[in-house]
Point group: C2
Chain length 79, copies 2
């Protein structure tokens, strides 16, 4: 069975870039990647928080949360 | 040719956890993953900074930097 990997985002440019590079880079043979836009699916927020998600974009692999570009630096927003 | 993916870390628990989960999760068919311990290989710091790395752990995919658990939260250090 594949390991679940949920990529949480909110549609911002930083999220989209991380989604394309990191979520797409996961091994499809081992991971079942799901993309969740919390702005469009607010009912998923509780589960994200329960997994430890404090900010987006974040990747939850097998129940463990990893924040990507946590507190995105201003430079990332200027691009 | 595979896309280069360099995982920079400094050996801390947060880095090691991210390394095991994220660097190992990349698709080996498409990415050539290199692990660089900047504490042990300080000569690699300049290249990491040039790629945009501001903190570790960070993943540079095809020259683009993504900070993982940027400014690791205190909770991650208590584990």
């Amino acid at each position: 069975m594949k390991t679940p990997a949920i990529f949480y985002h909110a549609g911002c440019p930083v999220c989209v870039e991380a989604e394309h590079q990191i979520a797409d880079a996961l091994d499809p043979a081992r991971y079942e990647v799901e993309l969740v836009h919390l702005g469009e699916q607010p009912t998923r927020i509780a589960a994200a928080e329960a997994a430890g998600v404090k900010s987006v974009p974040a990747l939850v692999i097998n129940g463990e949360a990893f924040h990507i570009n946590f507190g995105a630096p201003m430079s990332a927003l200027k691009g």
